[in-house]
């Protein structure tokens, strides 16, 4: 089942309360994109204000197309993409957008500093301003001391930082980052996450596409899930979970007598329980497949009190963005 966001839904049109920006920076209006006979994006509609928004989806879900449309690298077949009211494909809209692509094809003969200066000049900065701004962003991404090396000698993490730096050069209101944490070591990742947070705190809007769902969950509570060219859902992972009450959830419960607990759970008083499995190799573990988790959790809490059960462990096994995505993709999606 694919949940669709309708164009008239008030909830998506309302800017998130944490946003310091009042208007939609980026706006998709009934956007569809065909590549020949292939429908890459299907009637996508969403506004983006300030703060960090995550973009997740399986391969072929339309993530890259959505990002290219937002940056103005491709035009929609139907619909409209605007950045502060300006057509995203217009060069003037590019003044407001910083784009960090997932691939890192540079002029390898250039140093990081020379590359950034060229990029700054492409942004319309004078030579002096380009030099000043280059130093500022190099400092920002922690590359000042390594910027004179040729790009071909950079590690994956350094290349990610340079890509981020070139996106920050013109101080855009909207940053679109495609897999910005890929290949970055844990320390560098934490540093970049801090940079993202500070940019969001400074009023920037960040649209971050990532396969690192756990990282994204920690970074933002606003996640757009794309599936088969449509926005399957938007919100925090837990909100999405709430809307997915009818999707099964597996819970691990460790008790001294799991067989007895299974009998209780499969009785009529727990209609939410679909089935129980004993975990091989662990005589105390019981895997319970349920629907409507909130109702089940409340009922199970009562059962624990009434039966004085000794519960050593109670853990939803798939309460993560991966699982949500899996449900949305009908179990076929890979992340």
């Amino acid at each position: 089942m694919i949940l669709e966001r309708k164009p008239t839904t008030a909830s998506t049109d309302t800017p998130p309360p944490r946003s310091p920006v009042a208007v939609s920076l980026l706006r998709f209006e009934e956007v569809s994109k065909w590549y020949g006979p292939v429908l890459a994006l299907n009637q996508v509609w969403f506004p983006l204000a300030g703060g960090i928004t995550g973009l997740v989806g399986a391969n072929g879900s339309g993530k890259s197309t959505l990002i290219k449309l937002a940056v103005g690298l491709v035009k929609p077949t139907i619909g409209r993409v605007t950045v502060l009211g300006v057509d995203a494909a217009n060069w003037q809209a590019h003044r407001l957008v910083g784009y960090c692509p997932d691939h890192d094809a540079f002029y390898e003969d250039l140093s990081g500093r020379a590359f950034l200066r060229t990029m700054a000049a492409l942004n319309g900065m004078s030579t002096k301003a380009a030099a000043d701004r280059t130093e500022a962003v190099l400092d920002r991404v922690g590359m000042s001391d390594r910027a004179d090396r040729k790009l071909r000698g950079y590690s994956k993490g350094m290349r990610q930082r340079i890509k981020l730096a070139q996106a920050l050069l013109h101080d855009p209101a909207l940053l679109i980052l495609d897999e910005p944490l890929g290949g970055v070591d844990p320390i560098g990742r934490q540093e970049l996450v801090e940079v993202f947070r500070s940019l969001a705190a400074a009023g920037k809007a960040l649209l971050i596409s990532s396969h690192e769902l756990e990282e994204l969950e920690r970074l933002t509570s606003d996640v757009i899930i794309l599936a088969r060219g449509r926005i399957a859902d938007r919100g925090s992972v837990s909100d999405i979970r709430d809307r997915l009450e009818n999707f099964p959830l597996t819970v691990r419960i460790d008790v001294p007598e799991p067989r007895a607990l299974a009998r209780l759970l499969l009785a009529d008083m727990f209609p939410e329980v679909l089935g129980c499995d004993l975990l091989a190799g662990d005589p105390t573990a019981l895997l319970v497949r349920i629907l409507r988790p909130r109702t089940f959790f409340a009922a199970f809490a009562r059962l624990v009190i009434e039966q004085e059960l000794e519960v050593a462990r109670f853990e939803p096994l798939d309460d993560s963005a991966h699982a949500v995505l899996g449900y949305l993709l009908g179990g076929s999606g890979k992340t």
Binding site: K68, Y107, A121, L122, G124, D171, S198
Partner: protein, 311 residues
């Protein structure tokens, strides 16, 4: 500024942006810098410098011989040869500040620049498409016109540094060697011709290189295509016209010859006096060049449709 920003030394940009046309200039400078970084190309630049100095000192030598030592003789292999006889040899090279001097010079220098461009095309343009770095550029506040302009401007800068600029130096040198008070006025057509020839090379080679580099993307196929265009087509044209006595219009398939014919026409020189065999009319050559340019432009338009990155 938030405390976090202060901590991370965040400095928002508050300056003024220049129009996107300036980005084309930045792209051109970047292209030029890339070509200058390749050590392999410096051998060709040295060859170009040799050609320039040959013309530069050749012009000087001709004038010096005429003025100072025309009646003297020097021993060559034990035989006394009048220095004036050297002039007959040098006259064939047209080292006399005439239209043919500049035409020949640009012909030779143009070949060097064409070889370098064939080798540099993949680095300058092909890689943007082959490795997918085009989004870096098109995501900046420019559109595809500025991108193409920047690339063609970069190619033009390089071509003119090797052809037009030294040709202008030769022109001013000729004026100083002869009578500068009359030379510059009497040879104004040559000055305009040098500039027009440079513009012609810039536009035609710029569009052609961009189109072929976008098409084949890699160095070896690009060199093969350019070798086909500028060497094989030239040989075929000569074979058909000189060998098989076909109509001289068959020589129009030789694009380099077409550029030369139009260049000589711009310089005000008669191509018949300089070229062996029958030649097509300059306007016919111009038509071919315009057609090639339009085809290249149409191809580029389709390849980078709107702002769409097709790779």
């Amino acid at each position: 500024m938030t405390p976090t920003d202060a901590l991370l030394r965040y400095r928002p940009w508050t300056g003024e942006f220049r129009p996107p046309i300036c980005a084309s200039w930045a792209m051109a400078r970047s292209s030029l810098r890339l070509m200058m970084r390749r050590k392999l190309f410096w051998a060709l630049y040295a060859l170009a410098a040799l050609i320039f100095f040959f013309f530069f000192y050749g012009q000087y030598l001709v004038v010096w011989i005429q003025l100072q030592t025309a009646n003297q003789s020097v021993p060559v292999l034990g035989i006394n040869v009048r220095i004036g006889d050297f002039l007959k040899f040098l006259d064939r090279l047209n080292l006399n500040g005439s239209a043919h001097t500049f035409g020949n010079f640009i012909w030779f220098q143009g070949y060097i620049s064409t070889i370098v461009l064939a080798m540099a095309g993949a680095v300058l343009i092909g890689n943007d498409f082959h490795h997918g770095s085009l989004p870096f550029y098109l995501a900046k506040p420019i559109d595809k016109r500025h991108y193409l302009l920047g690339k063609i401007l970069g190619i033009g800068l390089f071509v003119n540094l090797l052809t037009t600029l030294p040709a202008l130096i030769l022109y001013f040198q000729a004026g100083l060697l002869y009578d500068w008070q009359t030379y510059y006025f009497e040879h104004l057509r040559e000055l305009v011709g040098i500039l027009a020839y440079g513009l012609l090379l810039t536009c035609s080679l710029g569009l052609l290189l961009t189109a072929t580099a976008v098409w084949v993307k890699r160095t070896v196929p690009l060199i093969m295509i350019w070798a086909g265009l500028f060497v094989l087509c030239r040989m075929l044209g000569n074979f058909l016209v000189d060998g098989q006595r076909f109509d001289e219009r068959w020589r129009l398939i030789d694009l380099w010859n077409d550029l030369y014919l139009v260049g000589l026409w711009c310089l005000g020189a008669d191509p018949i006096t300089d070229r062996a065999g029958p030649q097509p009319q300059p306007w016919e050559a111009l038509l071919v060049i315009v057609a090639v340019g339009l085809l290249s432009a149409a191809f580029l338009r389709n390849r980078i449709q709107g702002v769409e990155v097709v790779s």
